[in-house]
Symmetry: C2
Amino acid sequence: MPAEIVRLRKPYLLFVGRAATEADAKTALGLRDWARESCLAQLRLEGARVNLGLPEMTPESAAQSGARSLVIGVAPVGGRIPSDWHEVLLRAAAAGLDVVSGMHHPLAAIPNLAATAARAGAALVDVRLSKQEYPVATGRKRSGKRLLTVGTDCALGKKYTALALTRAMQAKGMSVDFRATGQTGILISGSGIAIDAVVGDFAAGAAEMLSPDAAPSHWDVIEGQGSLFHPAYAGVSLALLHGSQPDVMVLCHDPNRHRLNAFPHYAAPKLNDAISRYCEAARLTNPNARVAAISLNTSMLRPEARSDILDKTAVELHLPCFDPLVSRLDGILDAMDFEG
Amino acid sequence: MPAEIVRLRKPYLLFVGRAATEADAKTALGLRDWARESCLAQLRLEGARVNLGLPEMTPESAAQSGARSLVIGVAPVGGRIPSDWHEVLLRAAAAGLDVVSGMHHPLAAIPNLAATAARAGAALVDVRLSKQEYPVATGRKRSGKRLLTVGTDCALGKKYTALALTRAMQAKGMSVDFRATGQTGILISGSGIAIDAVVGDFAAGAAEMLSPDAAPSHWDVIEGQGSLFHPAYAGVSLALLHGSQPDVMVLCHDPNRHRLNAFPHYAAPKLNDAISRYCEAARLTNPNARVAAISLNTSMLRPEARSDILDKTAVELHLPCFDPLVSRLDGILDAMDFEG
């Protein structure tokens, strides 16, 4: 298959299955919060305890109302699609909805689903299972500007930081695109490349393709992945960093996380060390790369402690410091000095 | 397919096709030079200009003489298997020889080859096309000792340095295994993982699996890939570095190469910078990692210039410095201070 970026058809019917907790339905909730305009309706099976607050529709009524894709927004136990989801997925495909999954097991393994979709002109989209052949990176400097969120660990806010900055930059009238590199980001934006699913030799090349040449004042805001300080995922992070050629990095951190998530024998790096290591690595492909701000995930702190740590970190590092879910970002953007 | 390391059956019948030049038959020549005891015979088609100096055998006579695999040792133009090779590959499979390829296109695409091999109890082995699912790395420190060759660029001697050090360590009576990470290395040693063909998220995990727990004084000598300073491949190099957890790194360099191979807009790093960056990165998973020697590829220099640059580099960096193809390695091994 020739190389191209995954593109999804919107709006979505969000499938919540029998989700018992908000954690189970994390993907669906992220879509509702960050791509509300793309979410037409929800579909819940009997026993579901999560309610997205969207209209309830069947596959058929959603298709009649203009939905283009059913998105599986719930993570099944064990990562496999349960057999009691098959009927609704087959009905969605028969109604002409694309079926979109971020799971490790292919949709085509569901009996008759591929044939049903083909007859109805619908597609099966496995966001994480790339069959694409990406090119080897060239290292050629591209036109336009790029911001990449980087982190001291996985799962601490790189995606939400990138989404919040994109919104704030749009609100200021800047020309900006969010570039998704993980499954939830791709579902939110409707396109992207699941960079951690690409074969190593081509990962930097895929990252180059994701943020192509653009007008000199255009910004791509690229969702970071993993961390240079992670014993399992640093290679993916470095390939994404080199291929993205960021002018500006925003370092994301959770001040409560002293050990890496699920790798407690690894300490989180100090912010100062992380800044210098990210700059050092990024300057291979963009000699002007700099860390321009710190994004702190303060969700675990009491409200009065939040502004304290933001202020303290900003003073210590001489950098603007914000929490994307609580701070006003217009002043932060000014302080990041995008012309610099 | 559950995760496991590729294992090949030896000895080999080396297939040279109609190779016109030694460059075309690089893989076959590497096998003859580095795995002579595994190479039973050669098979050349009419018009071949390369002669490995091995007995000539047909697939049938090689199988009768004890060969277990036919290895494609020639790179076809365009990377695809030419149709005039099909007959001899089918005969090999019918004779019970495994057919081993390092090409990007699968052997099973040759009409009837898979069925013929299955009937004869033979396997088709695409060394570079991993269908394995590797685990995510754990970062847990493993027992035993590890040496990894690292480089200032691609294609400057990391594989040959690892092979030469393995031989010299064996000659000293050390307990040592060569661990292959690329297709030629896998063919030479008969096992390994083509690390650049692994999906990014699992590359460090594959590297962990490649050099498992071992006796405290056992050494794995791991073939390095790419370079931390390469705009396309640094991610693979970093994943291999983190998963390998080397106690000792040997930095490989070509003193004549001032710009990266095929990436002339990128300068080769200075040796001192490369040493500090490799140590910094490696210490995430092994805090005692160190660069213990420099391997220089002096093949482009006149003989009298070779020892000059080896001596000069050793003095400048205070490290033992050798060319694996010309230096005596027993003294080098002593100077590397493996107990240190």
